[in-house]
């Protein structure tokens, strides 16, 4: 690498296993000053486990971790890591929701003048830091819970910056971001780089990786496949190293005959949604695009009766529905894959098998269960989606992020509904598994099912949708047909252009 810059982090021969199952072995990795080093790999390859070792959350079973020239010992833990300048931006929010932005930025490092906290000075410095990293739209005195997902992530980064980070680790930071927010984050990463901070960046959005990486290391099944230097970075070769076969970043789906209308949504309003109408036909995928916060998830919640309509009507197969709870919606053949998987999608402390069968039993009113069948059904979906696990008995908590997403999909595929709402179906899923999920979605269409697909992943919207509906500020701003779908049009309507 750049010969004169300093090596901040050096990992040699690190290994880790959980109750006898090896996650990775003999892994080497390093980061230099002012460098963005991306770590790419399939779901369950061991990326998150690796950063948990760096951040001190897990101790390695063996190997050497050298930070700033000093080898760490077995007393290494998160607070030592932070003292050494290793700051981790985890995927979940780790800010204190009831404190203000500035209180979060300075937690444990409050500025004290004559024995009292100097709020004015803290406010000023917070403003400076936020300005420096380029997110000056955030007010330091607003409570964190009032900020959106992306803004919270920026505050987390600002906090790491205040904490004098030398190495910043980001695990899928853009997983729930819209286009603009991704742009903003990449700018921040550029800024950190210019400050000499070494960044370890993990993302399944390969476009981002190719834009910002100085080096890319590919990990597969816990083994390092190769580290690419900047001038060697080559998309198709990296993807091949990741998934072990050729895969294109642009998915080409089969076309499916589209049938009659199954669902009509007429002038629906509710919290965050205003007067939205559209219809959905058998075998069709309707993509919902828009900025984060445009009301797409809120619309899905109305359709699935998670929240109540204030006006408008929904017809399924020509009949007006009157769903009171999601239970009614499920009985009528609806399925909803929610976007926040840990909060509303999974039973983390339960087995894969319980997670898989639950909705099916609600839909079909099966009151007596057959454990053997539950096992075989779950195994079937584990095979189908290539979920990496030790078996249907494994607790979902111990799966990697992308594999947890596959368990949610299993639950709804097995539910055998007719109308599917997918809210960010491939969030956190690797490029190989994405293809498999797309294939399953097309298979659903072939069976005459209809799909509403909410996605902030533009290539996904373009590749998968038969029609795209774009929302802006809770309203539908446009509907475009297959032959007119392109990213410029979608973007301009998402930003508030009207029909």
């Amino acid at each position: 690498m750049v010969a004169e810059s300093k090596r901040l982090l050096n990992i040699e021969g690190v290994s880790k296993s959980f109750s006898g199952v090896t996650v990775f072995s003999d892994f080497d990795f390093d980061i230099y000053e002012g460098e963005v080093h991306c770590l790419c790999g399939e779901n369950g390859a061991g990326k998150s486990t690796f950063i948990k070792i760096l951040s001190g959350a897990h101790l390695p079973d063996g190997g050497k971790v050298v930070i700033n020239g000093e080898e760490v010992d077995d007393k290494y833990n998160p607070s030592i890591a932070m003292k050494l300048g290793v700051q981790t931006i985890y995927q979940e929010h780790t800010l204190m929701q009831n404190l203000t932005v500035m209180e979060n930025l300075f937690v444990g490092k409050e500025i004290v003048k004559r024995g009292v906290v100097d709020r004015e000075e803290m406010y000023k410095q917070s403003l400076d830091v936020l300005h420096e990293i380029g997110v000056d739209t955030i007010d330091p005195s607003s409570p964190v819970r009032e900020l959106g997902t992306a803004q919270q992530k920026f505050v987390q980064i600002a906090k790491a910056f205040v904490g004098k980070a030398k190495i910043m680790i980001m695990d899928e930071p853009t997983a729930s971001f819209g286009i603009h927010e991704i742009e903003q984050l990449l700018n921040i990463v550029g800024f950190l780089k210019s400050q000499g901070i070494g960044v370890l960046y993990i993302s399944h959005h390969l476009e981002e990786v190719f834009r910002i990486a100085d080096r890319v290391t590919v990990i597969r099944d816990g083994e390092k496949i190769r580290t690419y230097k900047k001038d060697e970075i080559n998309q198709s070769s990296i993807i091949k190293d990741m998934v072990g076969r050729d895969t294109s970043m642009m998915y080409k789906r089969d076309t499916v005959d589209i049938g009659e209308v199954v669902m009509e949504v007429n002038h629906v309003s509710g919290p965050g949604v205003e007067d939205v109408s559209f219809n959905l036909r058998k075998g069709e995928i309707v993509g919902f695009a828009g900025l984060v916060g445009a009301g797409r998830t809120e619309l899905a919640e109305l359709l699935f009766a998670r929240k109540k309509l204030t006006s408008g009507e929904i017809l399924i197969n020509g009949k007006k529905t009157n769903f009171k709870t999601p239970k009614d919606a499920i009985k009528a053949g609806m399925c909803m894959i929610t976007e926040d998987r840990q909060l509303s999608g999974l039973f983390l402390n339960q087995s894969i098998s319980l997670n898989t069968i639950l909705v099916h039993s609600s839909k079909n009113d099966t009151k007596i269960m057959d454990p053997k069948k539950e096992d075989s059904v779950s195994s079937e979906y584990i095979d189908k989606l290539k979920t990496k696990c030790t078996g249907p008995d494994q607790k979902v908590r111990f799966l990697s992020g992308g594999n947890q997403q596959k368990v949610i999909l299993s639950k709804w595929f097995y539910a055998e509904g007719d109308i599917f709402i997918f809210d960010e179906p491939t969030r956190g899923v690797d490029i190989g598994a994405k293809e498999e999920i797309y294939q399953l979605m097309v298979e659903l269409c072939n069976q005459g099912k209809a799909i509403i697909m909410i996605s902030s992943d533009m290539p996904e919207v373009i590749a998968m949708s038969d029609r795209v509906i774009i929302m802006n500020k809770g309203k539908k701003s446009a509907e475009i047909d297959k032959d007119k779908i392109n990213s410029e049009t979608i973007l301009s309507y998402a930003l508030g252009g009207t029909v």
Binding site: S19, V21, T22, V23, G44, D221, G222, F304, R306, T325, P326, K327, I330, K331, M336, T338, L343, S344, G345, L346, F347, L348, N349, Q350, L354, I357, L358, V359, S361, S362, K363, T366, K367, I368, M369, D370, P371, D375, S379, E380, I382, D383, K386, K388, C389, T390, G391, P392, K395, K411
Partner: protein, 325 residues
């Protein structure tokens, strides 16, 4: 293929031995047997047929309450009121019989009191965001008052009227033992083969996800508390049948035994975790500890300390094991 990826064929091949080793109950049972062996060596009058039958009979009421507690706790709740509710129901039954009412009417009234009381608790817990701990603590105190009112502070002896749980015997064992075994078998089946059992874990683990999976979480919780009420009624009938005197202190402290049994058996206070066999082993543990300490001659005061210590140790072992899993 990585070591982690286990395909279908291999999954079914996971040796049964490993499954048994991974099971928390194996440890609970092994520990129990070791404990019994050790105590038998210290105190020769521990491992006698007579003593075991005493332990068994004392076990029945807390063990039945522990089933209900396990249900409630797996669903994410807790019920501190069961002990005093049992007292209230027993007092009321004794009151009815003492005043010339039939045993049938008495039993019916116990069922009505317990189920109605627990449905009321369940209603408040499922329809508001009050903590189950607080609601049932309040009910626990209120039931005590009701029991005192029912008896007016006195006792109602009902000798010979309602002794069936102990007087009817099969193979020299009193009826109540068979009732307890039947309750455990029934709930073992429910946990293993019913959708209700699956939903219990789902609701306890993540109520929001359960709601979105088509479960009416509110009514489900109501049902769970209702079932718990039925079990309390059953326990109160057996309790009165054994004691043949209704007094407001019959059930005092039983809620703690039930919670201890469930927790030692691997049930988590946070919900979503627990099982019936573990709960039974936990109930046996709690029963054996106090009996064995008596037999060995440990003073009643010290017994409390030892019991508390063993409960914490059991939970500690559980948590260490699940961390490594």
């Amino acid at each position: 293929m990585s070591e982690l990826q286990v395909n279908k064929a291999e999954i079914n091949k996971i040796p049964i031995g490993k499954k048994i080793l991974k099971n928390d109950n194996t440890y609970l049972l092994t520990g129990l047997i070791l404990y019994i062996v050790v105590i038998s060596m210290i105190a020769p009058n521990f491992a006698t047929q007579y003593n075991f039958s005493v332990v068994l009979q004392q076990l029945v009421v807390p063990a039945i309450l522990a089933v209900g507690m396990c249900l409630v706790m797996v669903s994410g709740g807790i019920d501190l009121s069961v002990g005093n509710l049992l007292s209230l129901a027993a007092c009321f039954m004794a009151f009815v019989i003492y005043n010339g009412g039939s045993v049938f009417v008495a039993i019916l009234s116990a069922i009505v009191i317990c189920v109605a009381g627990n449905l009321f608790v369940g209603f408040i817990i499922s329809r508001t965001d009050l903590e189950p701990f607080i609601v049932t603590l309040g009910m626990m105190i209120a039931y005590k008052g009701l029991a005192l009112i029912t008896t007016n502070g006195a006792e109602f002896p009902i000798m010979g009227e309602m002794g069936f749980a102990t007087s009817i015997r099969f193979f020299n064992f009193p009826l109540m033992i068979f009732i307890m075994i039947a309750v455990y078998i029934l709930f073992w089946f429910i946990f293993r083969y019913s959708r209700f059992g699956r939903r219990l874990y789902a609701v306890g683990d993540n109520p929001e996800a359960a709601f979105l999976a088509g479960i009416n979480v509110k009514n489900f919780k109501l049902l769970v508390y209702g079932i718990n009420g039925l079990l309390v009624a059953l326990a109160s009938i057996i309790m009165l049948s054994r004691n043949e005197v209704g007094n407001p202190y019959l059930g005092t402290g039983l809620e703690l035994d039930a919670i201890a049994a469930a927790v030692v058996g691997g049930t988590a206070l946070s919900g979503g975790k627990g099982n019936i066999i573990g709960t039974f082993l936990g109930a046996v543990w709690i029963g054996i500890i106090s009996n064995s300490l008596n037999v060995v001659g440990v003073s009643a005061f010290v017994q409390y300390i030892v019991t508390g210590g063993i409960i914490i140790a059991a939970v500690l072992v559980n948590s260490l094991r699940s961390k490594n899993a």
